[in-house]
């Protein structure tokens, strides 16, 4: 049975035709994967279905009846729930308040809100979903993945018939992903329909029954997942031949093994980290993985001077380094490209030039004053070098696409000719093509002798690009692998605390 159908939907934004007379149908008991490159129109489509945007033209049918979806609350009443790509929870409210936001009247008796009942209901919901989050915790204290899980719990609390999941696994670890997939399977068994958006194509093949490929706002292909291959899917998404290729590292292995150590941590203990010892060699690409809470993000913070070490020693270029602020890390030649670029890296209202030059102002300035033309010229050459697509170097960064924004934060460090760059989840939420692009950039940097430290929960990514991979568990480094002699299974095993060696 077809639950939801949209026909000939079009939507334009100034200068862009985001959707061009596209149609899609979602059946009950079906996981329908919606795939496409960044900017293909996926988010626009689901925002229309969820009532956040209004289409310029086209019709929607719910169980065969024509509907006009007015707003998100209306969509929810019709039984459509959206888990947005970027969690949109109220940071200063608790988990349970967020989950039942706007639905409090369910718990109101004689004009008063029964908090105990709300708490119990929340607890019940989280238990069913096997999500271990305190209902009374403030959302701002949650990690990115917990945020995502709460957002999913919120969508499920509505008992909807159609669920839209926009990049739900972007911040999830493999264990949490399994949990989510179990939930999805349950929903499917109950006869509900799921629209699943993801850039991770292996997930499409793992969980989806049918697929629709969007490109430039149009449907390129639609059908059963079992009838296509991954390569075909990639081709349809990009419209050209792209094969995901890792870096040929065998040839370089020897050189790297003999290179000097650029960064070394000896017995470092800090918040969430216990007795950490490791090193990165010059020109080496070192990956660090682990579950959320394993300490990999804390480790990146310590190395970049964002949180202080309690004991232990940090050596940079063989010399001891006391790191108290990022400024000091910058000075010795480190750069940090954080995962959450909107929050932690970019100045959205400032121009591309200002975003690129912000960490190099002292070097650009002559006698304390900034030569604006010289600054622009330097940044423009960075823009060219990383092929950042922007209307003009003076455009605010907020108008750039996600992949290009990511490159802007890389360009910022490249200006400083760094010795070590830390990438946190470098390809989270970017499409296949941009992914390859970012890997190529990292490889270019490495060829220039820049060492690269990647923390990522995407094990496939690390296997593809890294020389060595460290696995963290519970604040410790529990395993070390050579990038070319390890299977995904043993890494994933180690992330869950299975001791190796």
């Amino acid at each position: 049975m077809i639950l939801l159908e949209v026909r000939n939907i079009s939507k334009s934004f100034p200068g862009v035709r985001a959707l061009d007379k596209m149609s899609i149908a979602i059946k009950s008991s079906e996981v329908h994967a919606l795939v496409g490159a960044n900017g293909a129109g996926k988010s626009t489509l689901v925002n229309i279905i969820a009532g956040i945007l209004k289409p310029d033209e086209g019709e929607s049918f719910l169980r065969g009846k024509r509907v006009h979806i007015q707003n998100p609350a209306h969509a929810r009443r019709l039984g459509i729930s959206l888990v947005p790509q970027i969690p949109s929870l109220c940071e200063n409210m608790t988990v349970m308040e967020n989950i039942f936001l706007g639905e409090e009247k369910r718990f109101v008796h004689r004009g008063f809100l029964n908090w105990q009942e709300l708490f119990n209901e929340c607890q019940r919901l989280l238990e069913i979903l096997d999500i271990h989050v305190d209902p009374k915790a403030k959302v701002r204290d949650l990690s990115a993945s917990e945020n995502q899980l709460v957002e999913i719990a919120r969508a499920l609390s509505f008992e909807s018939s159609i669920f839209i999941l926009d990049e739900p696994t972007a911040t999830l670890t493999s264990v949490e992903k399994e949990k989510l997939f179990n939930i999805i399977k349950k929903l499917k068994a109950q006869g509900r329909g799921i629209i699943y958006i993801s850039h991770r194509l292996e997930e499409v093949f793992e969980i989806a029954d049918s697929y629709t490929v969007l490109r430039d706002g149009k449907v390129v292909s639609t059908g059963e997942v079992s009838s296509i291959t991954k390569d075909e899917l990639v081709r349809m998404i990009t419209g050209e031949e792209v094969s995901l290729a890792g870096v040929k590292r065998e040839a370089k292995d020897k050189d790297i093994e003999n290179a000097e150590k650029i960064l070394e941590l000896k017995n470092v203990t800090a918040d969430g980290l216990h007795d950490i010892s490791f090193f990165v060699r010059k020109g080496e690409m070192l990956g660090i993985t682990g579950l959320v809470g394993s300490g990999k993000s804390e480790l990146a913070k310590v190395v970049f001077g964002l949180s202080r070490i309690r004991s232990g020693e940090v050596l940079f270029n063989g010399k001891p380094l006391t790191l108290k602020t990022p400024k000091q890390a910058l000075k010795v030649g480190m750069g940090f490209v954080p995962a959450d670029r909107l929050k932690r890296s970019l100045f959205l209202h400032r121009s591309v030039v200002e975003n690129v030059s912000i960490a190099s102002l002292q070097d650009i300035a002559k006698f304390g004053w900034l030569p604006l033309r010289g600054e622009k010229a330097k940044c423009t050459s960075m823009i060219k070098q990383l092929s950042i697509v922007t209307h003009s170097p003076s455009s605010p960064v907020m108008f750039l696409s996600g992949g290009n924004q990511q490159k802007v934060s890389v360009a910022r460090w490249l200006m400083r000719s760094p010795k070590l760059l830390i990438f946190e989840e470098p390809t989270q939420g970017v499409d296949v093509k941009a992914k390859q692009n970012i890997w190529d950039i990292m490889e270019n940097l490495r060829e220039k002798g820049i060492s690269i430290l990647i923390t990522s929960s995407d094990v496939d990514e690390l296997l593809m690009v890294c020389d060595r991979i460290l696995v963290m568990f519970d604040g410790r480094i529990v395993a070390e692998f050579k990038g070319n002699e390890v299977s995904k299974e043993s890494i994933v095993g180690a992330t869950m605390g299975r001791r190796i060696k």
Binding site: F304, T325, P326, K331, F347, R350, S357, L370, V389
Partner: protein, 322 residues
């Protein structure tokens, strides 16, 4: 990979002007209106007068703009102005005008630095911090002066407030001079960029190696310094330090800054707009006097105009985002 700017037709240019220079158009429109209804408005002496009258608000607005650009707010400037000018005026007969003025300026800077440290180092809300320092410093002013004006200001000091250099009033030269210096610093010094970066995205600023605590302390210190400077000019103009002066100062300064297009959420806007905002406010006051509108109504008109300016600004922001 940089594409050229799309060509702008005359219509687009006009729209661009309305969107980006709304406040300037308002100033010009008001000027034209006042020139028609009043014979006095468009005379050299009246225009000079406006520039002199706005000089203290311009100085205060420059400091306020710096603070707001970092995403903060400072409502204590009027109190700092009153206290530091009282300190300076009380010392002038004893240690001379120059030294007394320097001590006055340092007093203002020190009080500003305290605001800055509370905001920067302790991470407290700027509004609450400066609201409490406003109350405390104002009280300190009354304690120090026992509530009476200090009129022991030497002859000759009033040059600073009422003097002329050629045809130009000295306060105008001083305030415009400060404006030019701060405009250049914001545009061409790394410090200026750090102010914008801190206001636009504090966390990203920290990640970019910016010491945001130092930036915050610096802007509140400068704001305190400039408040004292404006206070000294007022002392010179009135030949005395009055403990109650400046009670409206933060509101006029914030109004001028916001009308001039600097976003209260920080990181956006230019000092050029602030200058226009200050002039608009000054022209409104001037016009209300020329049209002999009762003082009770003047405050009302000012309030309405500020509100309208902010509403227009809001719609400009929305239309730009689209």
């Amino acid at each position: 990979m940089v594409s050229n700017d799309t060509k702008k037709g005359p219509m687009n240019t006009l729209m661009y002007l309305i969107k980006n220079a709304g406040i300037l158009l308002a100033l010009i429109g008001l000027g034209v209106f006042l020139s028609i209804v009043s014979d006095v408005f468009l005379t050299v002496s009246n225009i000079t007068n406006i520039f002199r009258q706005v000089s203290s608000n311009l100085i205060l607005s420059i400091g306020t703009a710096l603070v707001i650009l970092t995403g903060g707010i400072d409502v204590s400037i009027g109190a700092i102005m009153a206290f530091s000018s009282a300190v300076a005026a009380s010392l002038m007969m004893k240690i001379g005008c120059v030294l007394a003025s320097i001590i006055g300026l340092l007093t203002g800077a020190a009080l500003g630095a305290l605001n800055g440290m509370a905001v920067g180092l302790l991470g407290l809300e700027p509004f609450v911090v400066t609201l409490s320092s406003m109350a405390a410093v104002r009280a300190m002013t009354f304690i120090y002066t026992k509530g009476y004006p200090i009129s022991t200001v030497p002859e000759g000091y009033n040059v600073l407030g009422s003097g002329y250099l050629g045809p130009f009033p000295i306060p105008t030269i001083l305030s415009l001079g400060l404006f030019v210096v701060m405009f250049l610093i914001l545009r061409y010094k790394p410090f200026g960029r750090r102010i914008y970066a801190t206001g636009d995205n504090e966390i990203a600023a920290i990640h970019s190696g910016i010491n945001v605590k130092a930036v915050k302390i610096a802007v509140y210190t400068l704001n305190g310094l400039f408040s004292a400077f404006a206070g000294l000019i007022l002392v010179a103009r009135l030949n005395s330090a009055i403990p109650t002066i400046g009670s409206d100062a933060p509101f006029d300064a914030i109004a001028a800054v916001v009308m001039g297009g600097i976003s209260l959420s920080g990181g956006r806007g230019s000092l050029l707009g602030t200058l226009v905002g200050v002039l608009l406010l000054g022209t409104i006051n001037n016009g209300l006097n020329l049209l002999r509108i009762h003082a009770f109504w003047q405050g009302f008109v000012r309030g309405v105009v500020i509100f309208v300016a902010i509403v227009i600004d809001r719609f400009r922001a929305v239309s730009r985002r689209k």
